[in-house]
Subunit: 245 residues, 2 copies
DNA sequence: CAATCAATTTTGTGATCACATATCGACGAT
DNA sequence: ATCGTCGATATGTGATCACAAAATTGATTG
């Protein structure tokens, strides 16, 4: 019977609105600090305000949107201070995901990851700005899916949600090509570690990827000379003890 | 003028409903798997269904509630498999919070934590079941607050939310007193590590606290002999390399 | 020309209504 | 006796309305 009919879309309107807003945030279609009004979104989406307000409330609980005391909503923006905070959190959580992925990696999985990373590299050489962002995201989440933890995946998704509007800036920064190129080689390092089931190295390499991109972006966006020193978050090798952040 | 009147509660009804449900979940007033209906909750809370549905949706995005394909809501329950998953996540995230707390600890903070831990111990000796749970929660979050990261605190709050209904069972298990007593001494170990700014030890000790309580609970609830071996999540000492989970 | 105040519009919030679907129970046919 | 059908009830979902507070606008005044 499965070949006769296909399952239809039974998701609720609110869910579709939520996913649409989520994608828009991921892809940086909203600017940080941009204010959102329920009625305007409802009109743009072609629905009533009702599903929109519920979707917006969900995004507020995920810290993707902020509700001001005026009760108006705006796209959450990362200040210079909270930026570091989020980067370190990402190193911890996504590093852990890479660690778990390294345990479960198979040759087939590693080949698939290499394919994805090659596509990422192709987008870079083609200077396809949005393709780079999507390719990078594609690789990271492909790694995290290997960790086989739905809840972990959801948490990481929430973390990324907050960086979507920030990533929108990256496309306008000259020299981002070089940064992405370095990303490709670090990704390869992650896959190589996964292949050897070297969990600590996988965790370190992935945290390195995040940290490198973060400090590059910090230089070009906040203009601060101080780099993010998430350092021991990944505890790369044996004898390193925790130093101050 | 400030001494004439005090600020009144200007939060929205939806927010208060959300907090009320949150507290109820924390304290285990709902059983895992219990189904919740919007209208019934609205009647019990004395409001219209409107604020309730938004609050419920927020809890669904936090994975504290589940929405079945029937579109009905139920309190999320931890199966034997997902249980381990959440425990390991807690070791990672809360261990990281303890690590950060150890960097920022001051003698005054450590004294306050010891005071909180003594209150926890007092509740145990008084065999005050709900006092134990609250005392334990109080200590943990007091540690996490020292980490000075609002977002980290929120994430941990979401993780705990899922364990609230599970904790409700603990009160009915005989012998929980001994488990809690061991908790007090592990807490002391955490504080001692914080006092020395020994970040790795603080992280390990706190993960140990979670792990020990988790395996105790697993024995008495799921009846499985296999213990949670979150092992290297905390990377306690120098030369340990990652072993399989 | 700048500042202030009132009128108007906008916006989030909550309540109510309408509707499709799911659930459960009774009844009847095979 | 079992399965299927029909009807009644309950429940989530979406739309619309009402209202208070905030934002905006425009006129008026110093």
């Amino acid at each position: 019977m499965d070949d006769k009919v296909r399952p239809i879309d039974v998701t609720t309107v609110q869910e579709r609105v939520y996913q649409e807003l989520r994608n828009a945030l991921y892809q940086g279609r909203f600017m940080p600090g941009e204010v959102l009004t329920i009625r305007a979104l409802a009109a743009a989406l072609g629905t009533s305000p009702m599903p929109v307000r519920e979707a917006i409330q969900r995004l507020v609980t995920e810290n993707a949107l902020t509700q001001l005391p005026n009760r108006t909503f705006q796209v959450a923006s990362l200040t210079s201070e909270t930026y570091d905070e989020w980067i370190r959190l990402r190193c911890e959580v996504e590093g852990y995901a890479a660690q778990r992925a390294a345990q479960r990696a198979t040759p087939a999985i590693c080949n698939r990851l290499r394919k994805i990373n090659r596509d990422f590299g192709a987008a870079i050489e083609a200077e396809d700005a949005s393709g780079m962002l999507q390719g990078n995201q594609h690789f990271h989440f492909a790694v995290y899916e290997v960790a086989e933890s739905d809840t972990l995946l959801k948490i990481i998704g929430s973390l990324w949600l907050r960086f979507g509007p920030v990533l929108a800036f990256v496309q306008h920064v000259p020299g981002s090509i070089d940064m992405f190129r370095r990303g490709v080689s670090v990704h390869e390092r992650v896959v190589a570690a996964m292949e050897r089931h070297d969990t600590a190295e996988a965790r370190f390499a992935l945290a390195l990827d995040i940290r490198a991109a973060a400090s590059w972006f910090r230089r070009h966006h906040f203009g601060a000379p101080v780099e993010v020193t998430a350092g021991d978050a990944a505890l790369p090798r044996s004898s390193r003890r925790s130093r101050a952040f």
